[in-house]
């Protein structure tokens, strides 16, 4: 093929794919600024001719999205913080501390990866029901406080730390906790960032478990609030788009800011071994 034609073809296809990938996002953004009722027209409008912030105002004023936003931030933030501590400690132990049965225990953990999380949800709901944790933030956070994938990620990374460094500290009489906090943790910084973004995005976008666990509308996260609005069919298109923007924008912004770490983590997590 003519090289010029080939170049045009490759870049043209990429442009087309990018347009398909971005169109729903851009359209959502545009409609969220349209006055109520103006998006249902033929041909469908692409651009708000009279842009307005009314949809967002109503979202916070009447629809209570402000509290959903706060709930989402609280829940995703807490899960991220706690699971970071738990997964880092465990992943490091699997990588660098010696104890009987280490490899076997790790294999058991990896085996858990094949069990879909939804299998645990019904008994989990009952457990929380009898302990009074249904419809509480605690109940949403608890199962997310550790993850096999997180432990795996930390272990993969921590295995690369030099043993001599840890041995030297041990000979100097440092405690294991001191070694972890002062020597290991600073060296794990890249994986800490990666894990934090991965966990936050997953927790923010999570739907099924919060849907089961949170029953009172006041406790809803953004995806729950949006889904219930969508199923009630009472809100107009423009308002729904504003709600979608509010739900998607924080994670999209986080991804754009931390792209490198996020994509590295994705690769680290997908390579089993």
């Amino acid at each position: 093929m003519n090289p010029r034609l080939a170049r045009a073809l490759v870049n043209g296809l990429l442009l087309g794919a990018a347009a398909v990938a971005l169109f729903p996002l851009l359209w959502m953004l545009a409609v969220s600024f349209m006055p109520a009722g103006t998006s249902n027209a033929l041909p469908p409008p692409l651009w708000p001719s009279h842009p307005t912030l009314d949809n967002y105002r109503r979202l916070f004023g009447q629809a209570g999205m402000g509290s959903y936003l706060a709930n989402s931030l609280l829940i995703a933030g807490t899960i991220t913080l706690l699971s970071l501590v738990f997964n880092l400690l465990a992943g490091y132990a699997f990588a660098k501390l010696r104890f009987a049965g280490r490899e076997r225990l790790f294999r058991v953990l990896l085996g858990l990866l094949v069990v879909p999380a939804q299998v645990a949800m019904l008994p989990l709901f009952l457990m929380f029901k009898y302990t009074g944790l249904v419809d509480s933030y605690v109940g949403v956070v608890l199962p997310g406080m550790a993850s096999v994938l997180g432990i795996f990620l930390v272990r993969q990374y921590a295995r690369g730390l030099p043993d001599e460094l840890l041995e030297a500290a041990r000979i100097d009489g440092a405690s294991e906790l001191y070694i972890f906090m002062r020597i290991v943790l600073p060296l794990l910084r890249p994986v800490v960032a990666t894990l934090a973004i991965l966990t936050f995005l997953t927790a923010w976008n999570d739907f099924m478990w919060p849907l089961i666990e949170l029953t009172d509308q006041g406790h809803y996260t953004l995806p729950l609030g949006l889904a219930s609005m969508a199923r009630e069919h009472t809100e107009g298109t423009e308002q729904m788009m504003a709600g979608s923007v509010l739900t998607v924008l924080p994670v999209l912004a986080l991804f754009l800011a931390m792209q490198r770490q996020y994509l590295d983590g994705l690769l680290l997590g997908s390579v089993k071994g």
Binding site: V10, L14, A18, A120, P223
Partner: protein, 292 residues
């Protein structure tokens, strides 16, 4: 403090969480699936009865369960190859020496992955609106009659599949891209010297070298697609005519709408067993191929 004790202290919090909030409930689900746990038992545990395999037996005789299993398979069997083809295609384009603005394209194509499924499902519901949606408007410009995308039982699942492909292809694209970058350039060099066309280079160099990546991506995608739930929940509520009711959607309705937790647990376990069997079969097939 001795090293092994320190190790267990470091492990304890995470193992406790995984044990109490995952392993234990999974075992609990198995027990639950042998009981008739329902709304009455929820009120008073004395109403609980052990029914052995009764729930599983009942599922086998329930057309809606078979339908849900069928819809889930439909979603996996059509969705996974489409999704992987889109991922591989995008990765090949991005990997090409001819591609320009690579960082921009990579970000743009990946963006749908990080978006919230519920929010984008809401957006797609409007894009595929029969009257005012862009999908039908574009078809109209080509002279094609409007399609009742989410309202027609024949079209609802294909529409959800399109949405899932759009939402997910960027994830595997990144993994394929890393795989492509690991293929030694000398192999292409040699193939070119032998006069192999672009297609033959793809067929005889790229695909074999990507083998393990393809297998891993296939397994991850299959197990992800078996867990179809949020899309039908938001876009179609399992309809029309239950044509998008997946196994998990059915589990959710049986469990949390009708409070038949025993039945729902049996459904969860059947799904798990199906996923396990399919994954095992894929691994086995791949191994046999490698040996051949």
């Amino acid at each position: 403090m001795n090293a092994s004790r320190a190790a267990w202290l470091f492990l304890a919090p995470a193992l406790l969480v995984l044990g109490v909030f995952f392993l234990l409930p999974v075992l609990g689900a198995l027990l639950l699936s042998f009981t008739d746990y329902d709304l009455y038992a929820l009120a008073n545990l004395h109403n609980l009865r052990f029914v052995a395999l009764g729930n599983y037996w009942a599922l086998l005789h329930r057309p809606l369960f078979w339908a849900a299993l069928g819809h889930t398979f439909y979603f996996v069997v059509v969705g996974v190859p489409l999704s992987m083809a889109a991922s591989l295609g995008a990765a090949l384009l991005l990997h090409s020496r001819l591609a320009r603005f690579k960082p921009f394209f990579r970000t743009a194509l990946f963006a749908p992955v990080v978006t919230t499924a519920v929010a984008m499902a809401v957006v797609w519901r409007y894009l595929f609106n029969t009257k005012y949606g862009w999908a039908n408007h574009l078809l109209g410009m080509l002279g094609i009659h409007p399609v009742n995308w989410l309202g027609d039982p024949h079209w609802a699942m294909p529409t959800i599949i399109l949405f899932a492909v759009w939402k997910n292809f960027g994830y595997n694209m990144i993994i394929f891209l890393a795989g492509l970058q690991a293929v030694p350039l000398e192999l292409y060099e040699a193939a070119r010297i032998d006069g192999a066309s672009t297609w033959r280079q793809f067929r005889h160099v790229t695909l074999p070298m990507l083998g393990p990546t393809l297998l891993m991506v296939a397994i991850l995608t299959v197990s992800g697609y078996f867990q179809l739930f949020a899309e039908p929940y938001v876009m179609t509520e399992g309809g029309p005519l239950q044509s998008t009711t997946s196994v998990l959607y059915l589990m959710y309705e049986d469990g949390f709408k009708w409070w038949n937790l025993g039945t729902a647990s049996a459904e969860a376990f059947v799904l798990f067993m199906v996923m396990f069997a399919v994954t095992a079969a894929m691994l086995r097939l791949a191994r046999r191929r490698e040996a051949a």
